[in-house]
Structures are given as structure tokens and as C-alpha cells.
């Protein structure tokens, strides 16, 4: 046994080298203290560009809460606030001419982050005239959320839940308020393992990432002076962030042809997670009522996945003799919206919108030039229902 241990220890230098590279390079800033974890002041550089009216090429990770909060704070008034996930990120000011528009959609975000951004607007004294909630049709929609909040939003979500009295009004909401955090914490631990983040010190994947960053960097000094987290992405993978908070996708995505290069659709089990649960339905309704009570208009934009993927999912569910969760969710959202007189734009069914496969940069994200089409049919619909065009603008 001793001989075996001695022989195995001969691999120790390799392990040590891996630990040293991962610890030193640390491209995702896993081993720095949480306060400095995100980007080492990179947000300041982003905001410097945006507030000066220049678009900024996103070179690495950044604290989205800080940036959105500052964009909101810098506006004297906000007419239109777009909230939602990355799919909503291309909604831009030209779609709302003559109005002060802020795109507060969050990459990797969901309903909870949307509520947080609205809360940030409320806390900074801004009352948007319109709140546009983007919801995407290839996610959990109103299914039980198991992934954690986007980093930095946890305290805002806590404050929002308290202000909206979610915790005090109903049992289900209490479950959401209290249990969500536990569930999120649990899922975070499960996702990252018991030894997170230190298990990444001996992770070959992290080593490959570190080496990739090292090879892209000019010199060791440059790494030390600039901080790597903000230079994580090569040029072709850098999205362009505009002063209104909207985004233009990076070159890799713009060159992508998701209508031709098809991947494997998500599995049945993954899609089943999109079945609506009561707690999140309640959360959506509470949010909707809060926006309406505060005197703002609320609109919902349903963003569909790329048509071929939608068709594949629909066929799979038809074969199984079950309704697809996205269909159910759309019906639920429409019924809820109708009961509060909230207009719904778009649809989770791409064939009911003016979008085609060429309008996508991947299976869910829509091109900046095309996303406005989601608003048009609904606009007509709204006009037909008696609302004036000025209401929408």
C-alpha cells in the first residue's frame, strides 16, 4: 500500500501545477472574496461608457445589478422599463420613439430578476409609465424555479418580497419567500458540489479555461493589472451593451445559423419543469397588481423559441398525448392578463408571430432587428380593442 501511495504521489506535481494555475489565473474569480468576486471595478468602466452615451463591448463578467441600477438612477424619468431575461435584451429605444426607455432585462434572469429590477426603479424613485415584461417560451416559464438568483440580486429580492407583502398575505407566498431561498441555496450546493468553489482548483475544465485565458493574454503583468474576469471573452464573443441597457448580440451569435445548424431539442424531463406551479403564478399576479396599482401600465411580451424547435417539442408532446407546458403557460398567462386588462404581445407559438427561423441568433434569442416584430401584431390587436395608439407609444 505504501508503495502504491508513493507512486501515486509522483502525480502530485501535476496536481500542484493545476491548482497553482487555477488559483493564480482564476478566470471566473471564484477564489477572490465575494465583494470583489465579480469584476474588480469593471462595472465602473461599463458605466463610464454608457453614461457618456457610448456603447460598450462586454469583455467579461460583471455585476448586472450594479449596472442596471446606475442606468435607472441616471435617468430623470423612465417612460418604458423592459424587464425579463436575456431574450428581452435586444428591445431597444428605437422601438419606443420619443420615450425614455430603459432595458432592465437580465442575462440568465427570470421573473424574480424582473421583479428585482422593477424594485430597483421603485427604490430610486422612478415610476415607469409602462412596464414591459418579457417571458420566454423555452424555459421554466412559471414552473418551479430551482436555479439561484443572478448574483447580486438576493438582497433586492428580499426587499421586494417584503414590500409586495408576499410573505404576509398567503401561505403559498410565504412558502415562496422562505422556501425559495432554501431551495436556491440547496440547488446552488447541488449544482456546484460540496466543496465549491475549491473543487475547481483540481478541475481540468477550469484548468483548460485558465490556460485559454492565459494564451489570449499578452503578458503576465497585463493579467495582474487588468484583472482577468473582465477579459474573459474573445472579441467575437463580446456583446455590445447600449446606453439604454439593450444589447446587440456578439459576432459569433450574429453569424450563427440556428435555422440550419440544428441542435438536439431539450429532453422531455427538462421541458416538463415548465409546468406552472401555484407559487410562481401568485408571484406573477402579485407583480402585475403592484405595477397596475402604482399607476403604471403593464404589458407582457411572450417570446417564442425558433420555429423548428417549437415544432419538434410540439410533435413530441403530441406523440405523448400530453399538452406542452408552454401551451398551458401561455393560456394561464393570457387568462391572468385578461382578468387585469393587461395586453399580451407575441406568443410562445412562433407561427402566431411574424418571426421566422432567420430572425434568431440561436434557439431562443431573437435578433435585435427582428424583435420589434413581436410588438406589431399585438399593437394592432390593442388598437382594434379600442386603445389609442398613443397609449402604446
Amino acid at each position: 500500500v505504501l508503495r502504491l501511495l508513493v507512486k501515486l504521489s509522483l502525480f502530485f506535481p501535476l496536481v500542484l501545477l493545476m491548482v497553482a494555475v487555477n488559483w493564480t489565473v482564476d478566470p471566473a474569480r471564484l477564489f477572490t472574496r465575494s465583494a470583489a468576486r465579480t469584476s474588480g471595478g469593471y462595472e465602473g468602466e461599463i458605466l463610464g461608457d454608457l453614461l457618456a452615451g457610448r456603447p460598450h463591448r462586454v469583455r467579461g463578467e460583471f455585476n448586472q445589478r450594479l449596472v442596471v441600477e446606475e442606468i435607472i438612477r441616471a435617468r430623470p424619468t423612465i417612460d418604458v422599463l423592459v424587464v425579463g431575461s436575456s431574450v428581452g435584451k435586444p428591445f431597444h429605444a428605437e422601438l419606443f420613439p420619443g420615450q425614455s426607455m430603459v432595458n432592465g432585462a437580465i442575462l440568465n434572469g427570470d421573473l424574480e430578476e424582473a421583479i428585482c429590477v422593477y424594485e430597483l426603479a421603485w427604490e430610486t424613485g422612478k415610476r415607469p409609465k409602462r412596464v414591459v415584461l418579457e417571458m420566454r417560451g423555452l424555459s421554466k416559464i412559471l414552473g418551479r424555479r430551482t436555479d439561484p438568483l443572478v448574483m447580486g440580486f438576493e438582497p433586492v429580492f428580499d426587499r421586494a418580497l417584503k414590500r409586495l407583502k408576499v410573505a404576509e398575505n398567503a401561505d403559498q407566498r410565504s412558502v415562496l419567500a422562505n422556501k425559495t431561498h432554501k431551495e436556491l441555496a440547496a440547488s446552488f450546493t447541488v449544482d456546484h458540489g460540496l466543496f465549491y468553489p475549491y473543487d475547481n482548483l483540481i478541475s481540468p475544465r477550469y484548468l483548460q479555461m485558465s490556460l485559454g485565458v492565459l494564451f489570449r493574454s499578452a503578458s503576465r503583468e497585463e493579467i495582474a493589472s487588468r484583472g482577468l474576469a473582465r477579459d474573459l471573452y474573445p472579441e467575437e464573443q463580446q456583446h455590445l451593451l447600449y446606453r439604454d441597457g439593450s444589447m446587440q448580440w456578439c459576432q459569433v451569435l450574429l453569424d450563427g445559423r440556428p435555422d440550419v445548424l440544428r441542435g438536439k431539442p431539450p429532453g422531455f424531463d427538462e421541458l416538463e419543469k415548465g409546468r406552472t406551479v401555484e407559487s410562481r403564478y401568485d408571484l406573477l399576479e402579485t407583480f402585475m397588481l403592484e405595477v397596475l396599482r402604482s399607476g403604471s401600465q403593464m404589458e407582457i411580451v411572450l417570446c417564442p423559441p425558433i420555429p423548428w424547435l417549437f415544432d419538434a417539442i410540439r410533435a413530441e408532446y403530441q406523440d405523448a398525448g400530453k399538452p406542452a407546458p408552454a401551451f398551458e403557460a401561455e393560456q394561464t398567462i393570457r387568462a391572468l392578463a385578461q382578468s387585469h386588462n393587461v395586453p399580451v404581445f407575441g406568443s410562445f407559438d412562433p407561427h402566431r408571430t411574424a418571426l421566422s427561423g432567420a430572425d434568431y441568433v440561436d434557439y431562443t434569442h431573437i435578433r435585435r432587428e427582428s424583435i420589434g416584430r413581436l410588438l406589431r401584431p399585438a399593437e394592432r390587436e390593442r388598437v382594434e380593442h379600442g386603445a389609442s395608439r398613443n397609449d402604446l407609444r
Partner: protein
């Protein structure tokens, strides 16, 4: 718990350390507990299914051991067969049957099954079936120790994807474990390293070209489909034989020998030889429990053909509940039959060309033609349905222009799926695989390497470790055979 995960590294290190630290007589308890933990990490309730299968076969085995009347013995074996095949049918084939019936009737008469397919059900069901049949045929004494029998069924290294072990080969090893043997343990670890290389360096990188092409075959040229099909041939070989190597290696560390499952199958000179080198434990299972009871080759030529088609049809369906798998099996069966009856023709043709079977040219012709025949079969195996497999084959054959002119679209697609670095890594890795397989078959390379001086040995070990670290795709798909 995937074999290539951090979780498994911790799990196995703890199990191995405790295994060698505790007394010999308690080791089966550790292995049983570890095996159930391993299985429950995936879907805990399905451990009950494993337990039910174990209890039924253990009880039937004991009863068969006490009864000698053939009529009663025949009645006794029925519950075991019904339970094992019933579980297998319900979880694996019910949806397929319901879908087929619904399609035939044009209605939704039968509802789909609400459960996931339990991991490894095909493997452990066949293993327990073989035990009961061996006891029934009096080729195996019934195991009286329930814990040891449960360990035989659930032994974690081979629980979810084989190799399928016979009771006669595994249970005696679980009674008394051999003392710690340095050479055996290090040989096992080397095999684990080699298996990981096949899985994370080759199979998972090949998946990056196979998956997108087969996800949308209609959008790809004949060249791309041909390339993806050949790539899939290597992907499935490296994925499955990699799993088998890891399973055999970790068992060896724990003092248990599992049977060899692959012997460089793409070096076969005929389809018949291929089936003696590919998934050996399943081939021999079908040979012993289906082919020989059907009469084997001691029957008329016509009956033999039927037997071969039955065996290969069942073998195909064992892989999955889809007509594509059945067709894959039947394709191999038909070609084996053709091969048997055309053997004289090929010998005569070689003689006419002035080639002897032992010549290098004949060897290359045989190996390449066998590889191509097997590759065509992979189209059925990999396609989503029969229509798609026919369309893929048609494009591969008719779109011959794409082989002659590698246009910008093909280059763009190749670059989308693989960077130039990926291509270079793949070439090096596949060369290492082929040379490694050849050296192992010819010179027992791993044993030879163990006897070299320390600097040579450690240079090889370090090279393997560096390839794993720098080239491994540690976020790749799970092992392909987990779904079976």
C-alpha cells in the same frame, strides 16, 4: 454518478481505501452499500426495483436448489422470468408498444408510461436472468447468502452498463477477496486511465460533430453525413469500451476480475470476427441463452438462418425500443448469413487476384471492408427513425459530389463544429487509440510497459495524464450505453 466526475473520484477513493482497510469477511457489505448508494445517486426509488429483482431471483434460485422434479422446476422459473422480463418490458418497451398500437389504430388508446427508464435495467436484468437459468439448468449452485447475491446483482462498477457477468464468474470472487496486490491495483488504475482517455478525449470530442449532424441530417451533405457516421463508429466504440475499461479497472483495484468486453473490434477481418470482439459479454449471453437453446449451428441451413435473425433481431431490440435498433440487428444478421454462404466466392476471388489471406493487402481489404459494413449499420443505430436512416444512407450514396469538392459550406460547417485544434487533437488521439489497440493485441503493451525502466514508464503515464487534463472534454454527454 458519472465515472468521469469529481463525485465519483471522491466516492471511489473512499470505497477503495475502506475496502482494503476492513477485514476480508466484511468487504461485501461495503461493496453492497456502496453499490446501492451509487445507484440511488441517480433516482433513489428505482433502487427498490433493483431490490425486488434481487429478492425474486434469490428466492427462485433457492427453491430451484431444493426441488428436483422437472415439472415443479419449470413452474418455479416462470415467476423469475415473468418478473424480470415484465419489469424490462414495462419500463423499456411499453411506450414503444403503446405508440405503435396507437399509430396503427390512429387513436390515443394507450397512455404513455409516466416513469423514466431505470438506469442499467437491461444489464442487471440479463445478469439475474442468466443466474436463474444457470441454476435451472443445474450449471450453477444457488447462492444461499442473500447479501453476497445482492452484491453480485448490484456491484457498482458494472451495474449500469456492464460487462454482463455470469454468477459462476462473479459470486465466487465475492466470497473471498484476494490480498492486496500492488501489480493488480496499478494495472487496474492504468486501465481506468486508458478508459478515461477513450471517453473524455475521443468519444466526447467526436460527439461534437456527430450530434449536430444527426440532429438535422437533412441540412447536411453526403460528405458531412459520411464523416459523422464514421465519427459515430469511433464515438460509440470509445464511449462504451472506455466505460468497460474503467469498470474492469476499478473492479481490479477492488480485487475483482470482470470479463473483457472489447478486443479492438475495428481490427476484425470479417463481420463474424467483429462479433467476437464487440460487446463480448452481450454476444456470449445471447449465444448461451438464446442461440444455443434454439439449436445453434447444429440445425439445417434454413433453420440456422432463422436462428441468426432471431438472435440479432433480439440483440438489436435489447439496445432500445425503436425499430431502428431492430433493423440494425437484422442488418448484421443478414450480412452474417450472406458472409457464411459467400465465403467460397471471396476465397476464389482472392485467389483469382493472386492474394493469399495472410498477405498485407488482403488484411487491409478485409479490415476496411468490415469497418465500412459496420459503419453502414451505425446509420440505423444512430438515426432517430427508419425514414431518417434511409434518407441518410441515400444522401451518403447519392451526394457523391460533396466528396470530390470540399466547398466553403462544408469547411464552414466543419469549423462550426470543430476548430482546427480539435481536428489536430482528434487525429493524434485516434492514432494513439489505433496504435495502442494494435500494440495491446500484438504484444500485451500494458504489461510490456510495466517492465520498462521508470523514466520511460512515467513519461508514458505523464503523457496520458496531460492528454486527459488538456484535451479532455469533462462536460461531455453521459455514456451512450447508460440509456440502454
Amino acid at each position: 454518478v458519472q465515472f468521469d466526475s469529481f463525485h465519483f473520484l471522491i466516492f471511489f477513493s473512499v470505497v477503495a481505501a475502506v475496502f482494503w482497510a476492513i477485514p476480508n469477511r466484511s468487504r461485501w457489505i461495503l461493496l453492497l452499500g456502496a453499490s446501492y448508494y451509487f445507484y440511488m445517486c441517480w433516482e433513489p426509488p428505482y433502487a427498490l426495483l433493483l431490490l425486488a429483482s434481487t429478492v425474486i431471483d434469490y428466492s427462485v434460485g433457492l427453491l430451484l436448489g431444493r426441488v428436483s422434479d422437472p415439472r415443479i422446476r419449470r413452474r418455479l422459473i416462470v415467476p423469475s422470468l415473468a418478473a424480470n422480463l415484465g419489469f424490462l418490458f414495462y419500463f423499456k418497451y411499453y411506450d414503444f408498444t403503446a405508440r405503435t398500437i396507437n399509430q396503427c389504430l390512429g387513436s390515443a388508446l394507450l397512455a404513455p408510461m409516466p416513469f423514466l427508464l431505470p438506469a442499467g435495467i437491461s444489464f442487471y436484468t440479463f445478469q439475474t436472468l442468466s443466474y436463474t437459468l444457470d441454476v435451472y439448468w443445474k450449471e450453477q449452485e444457488p447462492e444461499r447468502h442473500f447479501g453476497r447475491f445482492a452484491t453480485f446483482v448490484a456491484f457498482f462498477p458494472h451495474l449500469v452498463a456492464g460487462p454482463i457477468m455470469r454468477a459462476g464468474a462473479l459470486i465466487p470472487q465475492l466470497r473471498t477477496f484476494p490480498p492486496f496486490d500492488y501489480s493488480r491495483v496499478t494495472d487496474g488504475l492504468k486501465l481506468v486511465g486508458w478508459g478515461l482517455f477513450k471517453k473524455v478525449v475521443i468519444a466526447d470530442r467526436l460527439a461534437r460533430i456527430v450530434d449536430p449532424v444527426y440532429a438535422y441530417p437533412a441540412g447536411h451533405s453526403g460528405f458531412m453525413l459520411g464523416l459523422a457516421t464514421v465519427a459515430f463508429g469511433y464515438q460509440i466504440y470509445c464511449d462504451f469500451s472506455g466505460y468497460s475499461d474503467i469498470a474492469i479497472g476499478i473492479s481490479q483495484v477492488l480485487g475483482v476480475n470482470l470479463v473483457q468486453n472489447f478486443r479492438a473490434p475495428y481490427h476484425s477481418r470479417s463481420l463474424r470476427e467483429f462479433w467476437t470482439r464487440w460487446h463480448i459479454s452481450l454476444s456470449t449471453w445471447f449465444r448461451d441463452y438464446v442461440y444455443i437453446p434454439l439449436g445453434g449451428n447444429r440445425v439445417s441451413a434454413a433453420r440456422w438462418c432463422v436462428n441468426i435473425l432471431i438472435v440479432f433481431g433480439l440483440s438489436g431490440m435489447w439496445h432500445g425500443a425503436n425499430w431502428t435498433f431492430a433493423l440494425w440487428g437484422i442488418y448484421h444478421g443478414v450480412l452474417l448469413i450472406v458472409g457464411r454462404f459467400s465465403a467460397r466466392f471471396w476465397s476464389a476471388l482472392y485467389r483469382a487476384l493472386g492474394l493469399t489471406r495472410s498477405s498485407s493487402v488482403a488484411l487491409i481489404l478485409d479490415v476496411v471492408s468490415t469497418f465500412l459494413i459496420v459503419s453502414v449499420g451505425w446509420v440505423f443505430f444512430r438515426s432517430a427513425n427508419l425514414t431518417e436512416s434511409v434518407a441518410v444512407l441515400r444522401t451518403i450514396v447519392t451526394d457523391w459530389k460533396s466528396y470530390l469538392i470540399i466547398d466553403s459550406e462544408i469547411l464552414r460547417l466543419l469549423r462550426t463544429y470543430w476548430s482546427p485544434a480539435d481536428g489536430a487533437i482528434m487525429l493524434v488521439a485516434l492514432s494513439i487509440l489505433e496504435i495502442g489497440d494494435w500494440l495491446q493485441a500484438r504484444f500485451r503493451f500494458r504489461s510490456w510497459l510495466s517492465e520498462r525502466p521508470v523514466p520511460i514508464r512515467w513519461a508514458a503515464y505523464y503523457a496520458l495524464a496531460c492528454m486527459l487534463l488538456f484535451w479532455g472534454q469533462f462536460d461531455g454527454p453521459p455514456f451512450i450505453y447508460f440509456q440502454f
